[in-house]
Every structure is written in C-alpha cells, then in structure tokens.
Symmetry: C2
Subunit: 193 residues, 2 copies
Amino acid sequence: MPPGYDKIVGALKLLLKEKEFNAITWAEIARTAGVNEALIYKYFHDKRNLLYKVLRQYLEKYAAQVEEDLKVTSGALNKLKKAIRAHFNAYSQDRIFAKILILEVRNYPDYFESETYELVKHWANSILAIIDEGVRNGEIRSDISARHLRQMILGGIEHLCLPEIVFGREFSPDTLTEELCEFIFHGIRSAEE
Amino acid sequence: MPPGYDKIVGALKLLLKEKEFNAITWAEIARTAGVNEALIYKYFHDKRNLLYKVLRQYLEKYAAQVEEDLKVTSGALNKLKKAIRAHFNAYSQDRIFAKILILEVRNYPDYFESETYELVKHWANSILAIIDEGVRNGEIRSDISARHLRQMILGGIEHLCLPEIVFGREFSPDTLTEELCEFIFHGIRSAEE
DNA sequence: CAGGTAAGTAAGTATTACATACTCGTCTGG
DNA sequence: CCAGACGAGTATGTAATACTTACTTACCTG
C-alpha cells in the first residue's frame, strides 16, 4: 500500500477519537493526512468505504489472533468464554474499533454488502459453530435456536460496554467477562435447591 | 402544534422507510412535507433534532402504555417478561421506531444530551427497578450488578431483532419473547440433574 | 381597526462530497 | 540510454447540501 493510503487511514483513525464519523469532512481528513482530497477519492471513492477499510484493518488484527486462541481450548463453554473475553479486550483496547463497529457502520445499508461485513459474519459464524459444538456434546441446551443464542450473547457483550464506549469511560474486560458468563451460563434466577 | 410541524415529522417518517437518515436531504423532507426548507429550520433547527423529535413521539406512544401494563403485573420475572414482549411488539409494529432507536441516534454524541434520551433513560431505569425488586424478593440473583443484568437483557432484545430490522424481515414478538426469557431465566446450559 | 404574533416562504451563502484532468518521477524493455 | 507506460499525488472545478436571513401574509385581540 502506498504511503498516502496509510496516511489517510491513519488520519481517519485519529479524527475518530475526537468526533463522530459524519462530522468529519474530506478536507479535515486530507489536511490531517497531509495529502490532497483527490487522493482519498482515488483510493476509497467515498468516505464510507474508507470507514469500512479502517474497520477491516482492526478486524484482521483481532480475528486471526482469536481464532488461534480458540484452537487450543477445549469445551464449548470454555471457548465461548474465551471468545467473549477477546471481544471485551479488543473493545477496551481499541475504542475506535468499538465505536466504528457498534455505532458507526450499521446505519448504512451498503455496509452489509461490503467485504468488511463478510469478515464480521465470518466471526459471528465461528461463535455459532462453538454453540453447535456445545449442543452436540450436550453442554448447551438444544431447545433454543443456536442463532438466537448467538445473537443474545453478542447483544449482551455489546450492551455491557456500550455506555462506556459512548461516554469514553474505562472498563474491566475481565470483570465483564465473568459477569456475562455467569449470566449466560446460569441465567438471572437465584440458585434454587 | 401547527400543521407544518406535523407535516415535516410525517415526511421524515415516510422517508425513513426507504432510506437511512443521512441520505435524506432537507430538500426531500421539505418537498415531501409540502413546505419550505426554512420551516424545518424554524421548528427544528437541524436535521438531527428533527430526528430526535420523531423518536420522541414513538417513545411517548409506547412508554405510557407499557407502564400501565406493568402496574397490574406481579412478580419481577413476570414484569420482565411483559416488558420484553412490549419491546419486541413495538419494534415489530413500528420498524421506523426500531431503526431510529437502534441504528440512527447513537452515533451522535448530542443525542445523549437530548430530552429524548432522557425518556430512554427513564425507560431503562424502570427495567432496573424491576430487577431491583426481583433481587429484594429473592427472585433474582444478587451476585451480578443489577445494571449489568439490565444491559445484558437490553442487548439481548436488540440483537435478537437486529438482523430482521436491518434487512426488513418480519419476526414474531411472541417467539422471541419466549426464547429470550428462557435464556435469561435459565441460561444456556442443558438442564442438569 | 391598530398592532402584535405566529405560520410560512423567497432567496441567499458557505461548505462539502465528489470528480476530472493533469503533473511528476520512476521503472522497464528494446 | 531513452521512449513510454505506470503509479503516486495534485490543482482545480462543480453540483448539491445544510443551514440562515429577512421578508410576507393572515389572523387574533383589545
């Protein structure tokens, strides 16, 4: 990738720390990157596409490392926990990543036709695979659709850190992981005898 | 409210059926409403504020009715289920409402300073109150932060219907309610003896 | 019926996203 | 060793857009 490309990507990342995507202009990106606006057009054609490319970089950074991690873990519930912790870790380390994924891309239909979304889908599918494995080996109940279980888990992850992401507060990935797993594994009822 | 006000609100609702908020222009809104652009400015000052006002209408429509509903229900878990069903019902009936709340408002920081967000907070607090009640009377476990429990529940609701909202597919509020409650109440593990 | 007030509009303007056509340097094959 | 292809990057334009001002018109009220 030519230097200009990376400068532009870097500029957007930088600007996203301060303001939301829609409030960032071509002019600002170009100025921050130290290049001409037309170069953005050349490499990305439009602002959204640039955003998807930035998200993609983050996804690639984390996806591989997590997949490795999961291979050496046995048991569906253990894997699930590991995957959840990886999520929280990523979101807490790279706030920009979290902001883009949770707040900025979903409102635009063409995101769901982007390559980047394919990566997200792939990642979501690997969680589905873990659940399926758990259902097969009896760890996980089979009377709720695996897809729906996955959605509820992903929703739980997101909403647990959403306030901290929105308001820029710190959070502890480990604490959230423990609580979420307790919730997911046992539900909210108090222990009955 | 003067007729122009309602025409503008109606126009935005109509346009949101076809496209995302950012792709809707002042000119389109004005044309659809049959008024001058300057009238939008007069009543709403900017597009986002108009969006918040539209969301507010929806929130008011549902919030009152749900609160009534909850008063005649006893038991925290029962109330929780009712609240969850109300959510799914609202989202499935008014897709525009769901789209705005889940996809369109969160990415703009000033939303969190709007009156509309206060309504959302109020609604979220009433779920928190249900959980607190459940903790007090022993229905709900006390070893996980009530706030976090609420977040996980809200996240579950959202993510269960998110794909259908994004891709414009139908869904059954009752089925989703049953599944989500099963999940929330008992967790994902298979029943152990 | 004077005068305040609310609804609504005509007519801007600065900014913005996007687009075209160019320059400049480097590398490559004959 | 040089013609010319090619890739990086830019100067310059343009239509559209969000927002603003100053105005008109109709009504209501004392």
